[in-house]
Symmetry: C2
Subunit: 133 residues, 2 copies
DNA sequence: ATCAACTAGTTGCCTACGCAAGTTATTCCC
DNA sequence: GGGAATAACTTGCGTAGGCAACTAGTTGAT
């Protein structure tokens, strides 16, 4: 836990430097980037992030207020919505990427061997999957 | 990050169930347990925890107010103090231990192979050490 | 068709905690 | 040994975010 907090804090500073956004919000942009034009439902976005539904609502509020993302009404469910990157959001993500990847290296990957990176990646993916279940 | 937040949240609930304390505070007790009778300086405790100095001040306030730990004036530095478990604190730590270890297993270790546990442990120790430097 | 049970997202409330500035004690240099 | 630079906590302030309760919409059973 101590190490993971250290990495998270370092990455958060790096994220602020690279995009002006806290790590959690940068991560939302990244997930939305993978989701593509179609957008993604808030509940799914929360699952793929480090936030609960209520935290997500507010993070989305912030990102929407600076026009990095947009809420669309969901065509198939009147309760729901679809969240997607705006053009501005896509640009912000692209611009932040190099600094972000350097930070992953300096705060995390550079301290590990190849084998360790593989072990950590697969183990943590399994843990995240178990948690979602 | 997603996995580490999932584990942290699970462990936090488990810690609440086992001792009534949030994970961060349980961890402080654990570190103090290892420090022994002599106690430990707040700055060192902060380094060994997930908290900054200011967060530590307040966590110590809370734990002291329920008599699980005590602040002593430091004999060798008039600015400083020594923090140590009270007898009540030692008991609380012992009572929480079984539930706590079960939670480490169910939220973390059970999802990993032996080799992965070793890889993660050594890698994360190195990361934590690098951060302290 | 209606009503109950569930799900999606939002909000009120509260707390933890980081940052930066403040206080007090120490060290070190001259 | 006197004064600047540094270190050890503390505190004021601001914000993020979890929980639980709420609203609105959906689904399914009769």
């Amino acid at each position: 836990m101590v190490a993971s907090v250290a990495v998270t804090r370092g990455m958060d500073r790096a994220s602020q430097a690279a995009s002006g956004l806290p790590l959690a919000e940068h991560h939302l942009l990244a997930v939305l980037g993978e989701a593509g034009e179609a957008g993604i439902r808030p509940t799914d976005l929360a699952r793929a992030s480090t936030l609960t539904k209520s935290g997500l609502t507010r993070a989305v509020d912030r990102l929407e207020s600076v026009r990095l993302i947009e809420r669309r009404t969901c065509p198939t469910d009147g309760r729901g919505q679809l969240i997607a990157l705006t053009a501005k959001g896509r640009h912000a993500l692209r611009r932040a990427a190099p600094g972000f990847f350097r930070a992953v290296a300096s705060h995390f990957a550079d301290h590990l061997t190849e084998r360790e990176i593989e072990a950590v990646t697969s183990a943590f993916e399994r843990i995240a999957a178990a948690d979602r279940a």
